[in-house]
Structure formats: C-alpha cells, structure tokens
Subunit: 382 residues, 2 copies
DNA sequence: CTTTGTTAATTTAATAAATTAACAAAGAAA
DNA sequence: TTTCTTTGTTAATTTATTAAATTAACAAAG
C-alpha cells in the first residue's frame, strides 16, 4: 500500500521510463511519452536525470518519419554492475554482469569440504576479483546470492539446507559486514526464476530439475513466496500411492520418482549393475531405445508430467520453464513431457501453455541472483 | 504499471484513507495521518471530499489524550449499496448490502427449468425489488454476479457451465442493457473468495465443497486468475492412481473421490441400498461410527486432505478456507481434515497454516459477489 | 535551392496536490 | 488560573506534472 506523494509519483515515472528503455533497446523520448502517456516534458526531465546518473545514454539517431530524427536511448551498460553468486552443492558459481545484464565475467570454483568457511572464503575472493577488475567499484549496485533449501529473503538468512549441515546462517550479515552494497539472498530456484523475469517473462512456473526438484512461482512478474517462504516445494507432491520412500520420509513424492538420483538408482537396480553409471549414459541408452532405459526414463517423465499437470490445473500459468538437468535434453525429454502434460491437464488450463527450457544453463543460479538485484534496482527498491 | 500523475497520487491517498476508515471502525483524522504518514492537511482535505460524497461520516468524539478530543470517522452505511447475485445450480440467491457490507435483504428463488430465460427474469425481478426498496437507487454502486464454471470476468462472459447447457453467455451485456451500474461477473467460488478478502484476509485458498470441488486462489489480497481464467481447477488434480472415472474423463480426480455425489454413490453401493440417501444421513451414521459411513467419509477426507497438502506444499498459504458442504460439519469433518493435512504436508509449509470455514454459508456466493463490487470500489476501480 | 509541413526535443507558464507552518479549539495537568 | 497537549483547519510553499510555445532537424515537393 504505497502512499501518494511527490516522491512516489516521480519514482513511478522514473521506473516506467527506465523499464521501457531496458525493454525496447533503442527508443526515443517521443515514443516513451506516447507509450507511457506522460508529457514529453516529463520524459525530457527524467531522462536528463537518468543520463546524469549514467544509467542511460544516447546511442544513435533513428530514422526520420518526415521530421527531425529521433535520438534513440539505451541503457548505459557501463553505468552499473552487479555480482551474482550461487552456493551450489558441489561448486560456487559467480558472475559479474553489466547494466544491460551481459555477462562480463564468470567463474566456477569446485568445493571440497562443504564447510561454511570454505564457501565464505571463496566468495570473498571472487568478489575481490570482480571489484579489482572494475575501474570504479562504486558502480556495483548490489550482490545477489542463491542457495538451495529454505531461505528467508527478508532477513537474508538461510534457514535450512538439506545438503549442508550448517543450520541457520545469516548470509546477508556475513556479506554486509565486508561490503557496503545492497545484498539479496534467496533460494537458488527463485533466483533462477528472477533471471527469467529479467528476460521479460511475467507469469510462469520455473522448475529446476536434478538432484532435487524445486519450483518457483511467478505471477505478475513477481515471485510468490508463501507465508513462510516455503512456496514451491514441488518435489514433495504426492504423485502416486506408493513408490520408493523419499528422504523427506513420505512415500510417492515426485523427488523420489523423477530426480536424477532416483532415476540412476532405479536403472542401476533394474540392470543389476556392478559399476557406477551416470545420467548421460542412461540418456544415450534411452535414445538407442534400450529397454531398461526406456522404462526408467518414461516412468520418470510420466510422474513428472503428472505433477506438472496438477500445477497447470491449479495455477493455469502462461508457461512452465524447465531448468537444470532435464533442460539439457530438450528434444528427447521436454518434447515428450509436453505431450504428457497436454493429455493429463484440463483443456482450458493447458490451451495456451508453453513449456520451454531456461534461458541460462549452469550459470542460471548465479546470473539469476544478479538479475534479482537488477530487477529490484529497476523497481527502484534500492 | 500505473503512471505517476497528480490524479493517481490523489487516488492512492483516497484509497488508503477510505480503506483505513473501513478497517478501523472509528478513527480520527490525526490517527489516519500518523498511520499513513501523510500530512494532516491532506487528510482533512480528502476526508472533506469523502464526507461530501456521503461515503464517510463523523460519528462521535473519542477520548482525549491530553488535548482536543478527536472526531471519530466511520463509513456511512447509508451512503451506498451493492447488489450481489449467485446463479446457483438449483437456485438464484441474491443480497442487498449497505456500504458497511451489512446484509439488508436476502432472497432465494428456487429454479425449475434451468433455462437462461428463467434465470434472467428472476434476476431482473430481484434487482427491481431492491431498487424499489431504496429511497435513492442512484446509491447503488454496482452489481456482482457469480456463476459456476469457466468465466471470463474481463469480458463478463460465462464461457462454459457444466450444469447448464447454455453455451457461452454474455451475462454482463444482459445486465448492462437494463442497468447503468458497474457490473462484475465471475466464477462463483472466486466470488466467495472475494467475500473473504472483504473480511480482511489476504493470502488464502478458498475451497468450495459439494457437488463440485473448486478453489479460488488469493495472494496479496488479489484473486489469481491464471492465463485463461482457469486457475483453481482443484477438483481435477489426480490424487490416486486409479479410482472411479471422473466426469472429465480421467481417473483419480479429487472430484470423483470427495464430492458430495461420489460419497453418496459409494455409500449407496457399499450398503447396497434400494432407496435414496442424502449426505446428512450419512454424516449422522458417521457420527454413530457406523462401519460403512466411517469407510466412505474417512476415505473422502483422506483424499481431500492429500489434495490440500499438495496445495499447501506448493503455495504455502496463510490459510485454507473451506466453504460449502463440508463447512457445515466443522467439528466432525474440518478438524480431522486439519490433522490429515498436518501429517501429509512438509513441516515448513504447514507450520502456521490455519484451516477455517467460510464466513458466510448459503449466501456466500451472493454476498461475495456484492463484496467483489465493494472491493473494487475501495480500490477506486469504479 | 526554397518552401512547406512534420516530427523531436526543450523551455516556459500554469496547475494539481502534496507538505510545512501557523494557529484556533478544546481539553488535561499543574 | 495558567500552561501544556492534541486535534483539526487554513494559508503559504514546494514538487512535479501538463499544456503550450519554441527551437531543431529533417522529408517532400516543386
């Protein structure tokens, strides 16, 4: 419930203008005024300020339509930078983005001891590297960090991380002690979804696949957190009456049916293998139409599709975006998945549904974390 | 994406002030200014206008806290009226509410032929009755109408109604031809949810139980419609691998397991009854702990609970509000249901969950439809 | 090369609606 | 009684908008 004030009135127009310049790469002041239905004078004034802040620049003349040629405006990519970090299960990934969200630098550091100290120190050195790299480190407008598990983004705390035994960690304070930038902490999947919001998507469910299966819900270009920041626990929907026992203690969870490990485990058992096998090999066999691979993958897809159908029936999203492991097999996995969802969902809810893969791959978490900072900046929440 | 303008700035403050007066029944101008962090002058000016519009009135002096006694402001219940209508499967229900959402008049007309003409004519006569009853029919600020099935609320059209074979009906136009009020058409369950929004709830799932099982989703005090207005099709989640075939053609749908008809049918079969039996009699037998009633009701609850758990895991709502049939049995059905949901959901998502019954009962749809109009009025969308 | 008509961007003046400041009204406390 | 508080109003000021006028820059047509 925003209040009406001069500050907010102007903020709203600043936000609208900046967002429009971001979306239409190359737009004139006159077009902005027409599209936003504000006067040209207002646009002139606000754009002047944005240029002074180095967030916007005049790029080139546009084509004349019978009069003075328009000056096209763009974001000034060198006007600001953001750092995005993902504390993954086996690696820390980090990116440095410019103000147009182009990746300037990306790094991956594989972790070994899985201690908080290790993650902290690697993070500090990555941030140092990026700061040193920029001529002017004051241009960094924020740091975003994603981590799996339950996160309280308002407090900036990681509450519970299934794969680390750290307990509750106040990550925001750890970073805020050393750095004077705005800091955003959130669940990794939500960060990935924030990345898709940056790509101009407004209404979708992002599903990250792999060892865990998690979702993030986006309505009206905003993340839906739920009452305890626990929304999106997609992996623990009960999909079938029995099935293997999930690590959460219950039976029939999606995660126990369609996660990477559960697929590998089932395949291993089915073929009574002695040695280890990885997912990619199973997929190769699947494409060769090997019997066991067909069974295991098709079952995993069937249950996954059923779970997505439930989501589609309930939420009727514009799109479902798949990230992580399955996204690497667009042709072989995502296409058949789409058919399953089509068949299992109600006609009205699935009518215009799009199922696509994520914009980024391995660096989806890190880039998304950075774009979360950008999203907030563009909402002028910084 | 609202634009910044003087009009919008003022609108925002009008909205905030009106809403505050609605929520705190009896509040002074000074308190409003403090709470909303706007100046007293602004409050004075806007309140003056609201009083002139007869939407607000000065009620009585409050207690002094060491100075001049405050003048307490309230909504002027006689300043405006709304009409709410539900086109139910066996009856039309209608209410006339005053500006404080008190029910002034309520009516139920049982329908017989289930033709559009019948519903239209009854509706016209009900509206006529309410208009005649008011001294000044200009004070009616809108009409809301709820109907089951798929509705396009923006167009004001009923797209598909499982229980009537009317095809697509442009209900808004039917009413707009005769009446010059703002008209709101929506799905019945969403209207019920709008009623709960009026009761100051902001984040919940409303589930209507009975012949069908439908849900409406409310986040941040706003209804979530989905991409094709199809969000909330809760009744067709696949809850179990087999089970009876649903009228939608699929197996294992919640509606085929826990709806009124499916419960009665199963009980009927189980006891091999010759004559008809109604739900209330089954519930009497359930409380007598009759074996068949226990089986049938407990199974229905089990599946219903499982479906709610899936919703809770995914959406982590603040509350689940049950309306319709099950809500009539708070002690015997809702309490055990809560236990099931507690057990089946993830700890974090269910931690603070409240399961409660709807504020209104038979007139939930009609009252909600009226309150949808009020909600929109308070958002100054009229 | 000139004229005419358009479109783009800026400047200036008018206006809407907020805030601040000053004060009257009304009661509490000393 | 006198002084202090709190409420609510009015007048003056400030902010940021829009409308209108102006300048800049070009296309089209002759």
């Amino acid at each position: 419930m925003e209040k009406g004030s001069f500050k907010n009135m102007k903020k709203q127009n600043q936000k609208n203008i900046l967002t429009l310049i971001k979306n239409e790469k190359g737009i004139s002041r006159a077009q902005i005024a027409d599209q936003l239905e504000v006067s040209r004078a207002t646009v002139t004034n606000i754009v002047r300020e944005l240029i002074k802040l180095k967030l916007v620049r005049e790029s080139k003349m546009g084509m004349s339509r019978g009069g003075r040629r328009p000056m096209l405006l763009k974001l000034n990519s060198e006007g600001a930078y953001v750092i995005g970090i993902e504390w993954g299960i086996e690696a820390i990934r980090a990116v440095l983005l410019d103000f147009e969200a182009e990746i300037i630098e990306e790094d991956q550091i594989n972790t070994e001891k899985y201690t908080l100290a290790e993650y902290k120190n690697h993070t500090f050195s990555l941030i140092k590297k990026y700061k040193d790299q920029l001529k002017d480190s004051n241009k960094i407008i924020g740091i975003g960090l994603g981590i799996h598990g339950l996160v309280d983004p308002e407090a900036g705390k990681s509450i519970f991380t299934p794969h680390f035994d750290w307990g509750e960690v106040d990550i925001k304070s750890i970073l805020a002690e050393k750095y004077d930038y705005p800091i955003f902490i959130d669940n990794d999947v939500r960060m990935m979804a924030a990345g898709e919001i940056w790509q101009d998507r407004e209404d979708f469910i992002f599903i990250n696949t792999g060892s865990g299966i998690g979702a993030a819900l986006v309505f009206k270009a905003e993340l839906h957190y739920g009452n305890n920041y626990a929304a999106g626990e997609f992996g623990h929907m009960k999909i079938t009456d029995d099935g293997p026992i999930c690590h959460c203690g219950k039976k029939g969870c999606l995660e126990a049916l369609s996660s990477k490990e559960s697929i590998i485990e089932r395949y291993h058992k089915l073929k009574d293998l002695k040695s280890e096998i990885n997912f990619d090999q199973i997929m190769i066999n699947f494409q060769k139409e090997e019997n066991e691979a067909l069974i295991v993958i098709n079952d995993a897809l069937k249950y996954f599709g059923r779970a997505i159908s439930d989501l589609v029936n309930i939420l009727n999203p514009e799109a479902v975006i798949i990230g992580g492991l399955f996204a690497e097999y667009e042709e072989t996995l995502i296409k058949p998945l789409y058919q399953i969802v089509k068949e299992e969902s109600l006609a009205q809810a699935v009518k215009d549904l799009k199922i696509s893969t994520a914009y980024y791959q391995e660096f989806a978490g890190a880039a998304g974390a950075a774009e979360k900072v950008l999203n907030n900046f563009f909402e002028l929440k910084i």
